[in-house]
């Protein structure tokens, strides 16, 4: 399972990006995207913004769950009260070979892991928790007096905390 997380500002401008892999079921937390996918991911994420705009007014929730799918890429969205979008692209590992370990029980492991089934309630819940924690830290980052609206988030502390949230829930 690989993840690409992005925060998109109100002008549809990227504020923050982070790629990581699953840490559950023996994952090593490294993203396993192919070489070309890095750029494709950005493209896929941004193209889903149209759908976000359609969906965002249909329910009063901040967490919009999986809103878009592009081949094996699933996109979950969380929208803040200030109309800043958190987008998470998740891609289940295509083959049964688990990253790093490669033991005999990989098939069963990956089938029970969070995200193996991107639309299951467990995955939704895990991503929701991840978003909630990131939101919490995002608010703190934005409260810094040296931050301006729609400015790129460069804070290393924030990056660490996103990484920690990723390790914890995904």
């Amino acid at each position: 399972m690989s993840y690409h997380f992005a925060i998109i500002g109100t002008q549809d401008n990227p504020l923050f990006e982070y790629e990581f892999g699953t840490s559950k079921q023996g994952g090593d937390g490294q993203a396993r995207f192919s070489e070309q996918a890095h750029h494709l991911n950005q493209f896929v994420l941004h193209s889903s913004l149209d759908i976000v705009e359609e969906v965002q007014w249909t329910n009063g929730q901040l967490y919009l769950k999986v809103i878009d799918k592009f081949f094996t890429n699933y996109i979950s969205c969380f929208i803040t009260a200030g109309n800043v979008k958190f987008l998470l692209l998740h891609q289940p590992t295509a083959t049964a070979t688990a990253p790093g370990g490669g033991g005999s029980s990989t098939t069963t492991r990956s089938s029970t892991s969070v995200g193996a089934n991107p639309t299951s309630p467990q995955t939704e819940e895990a991503i929701k928790n991840f978003f909630a924690e990131v939101y919490d830290n995002y608010v703190k980052a934005v409260m810094s007096p040296f931050y301006r609206v729609n400015m790129e988030i460069r804070s290393p502390v924030f990056r660490q905390r996103v990484a920690a949230a990723g390790r914890k829930y995904l």
Binding site: K140, A141, M143, S144, P145, F146, R154, S155, P156, V157
Partner: protein, 192 residues
Amino acid sequence: MASSKASRLGEEVWKTRMDKVNAELVVLTYGTIVAQLCKDFDSDYVEVNKQLDKMGYNIGLRLIEDYLAKSNTVRRCSNFRETAEMIAKVGFKIFLNITPTITNWTSDGKQFSLVFDENPFADFVELPDDGRAQDELWYSNILCGVLRGALEMVQMQVEAHFVSDVLRGNDTTEMRVSLIRYIDDELPPEDD
């Protein structure tokens, strides 16, 4: 005055006589001031420190009056150690609800450090990562000015500066205060 007595006085005045404001209002207001100064002086942090100190000085000159009225202190501190106690346990307590620790006295009793375990100005703050702010900006420098201004009004000339700040990645936030001299009452120039 014994230090426990100072603590009690600070606690009592804080509870009974002080108006309170929302902490986040303070954080954001002060943060905005500092950020705006940084912008106005084009990230000349040395100048920003000076400006903050100056603003603090002007606050201190007037704040001492409020301090004396609220704390009902009528007599002078007998020595500089007592002054330090009153600053930390009454002054900081009633205005900011913090009690910095007094340490590192020099043997002549004229210099001490205030170590801030918490700094209500610095919540949420991350210094700009332009490579200079971490080394040059003293974010809470206004406090130095406040002490300097307030003590000047009660006949003490002091020098105060920060020596470390957790915002810069140091382990503690420490302010060094040194007594330069007691200002003697000067007679007005004779009127011939």
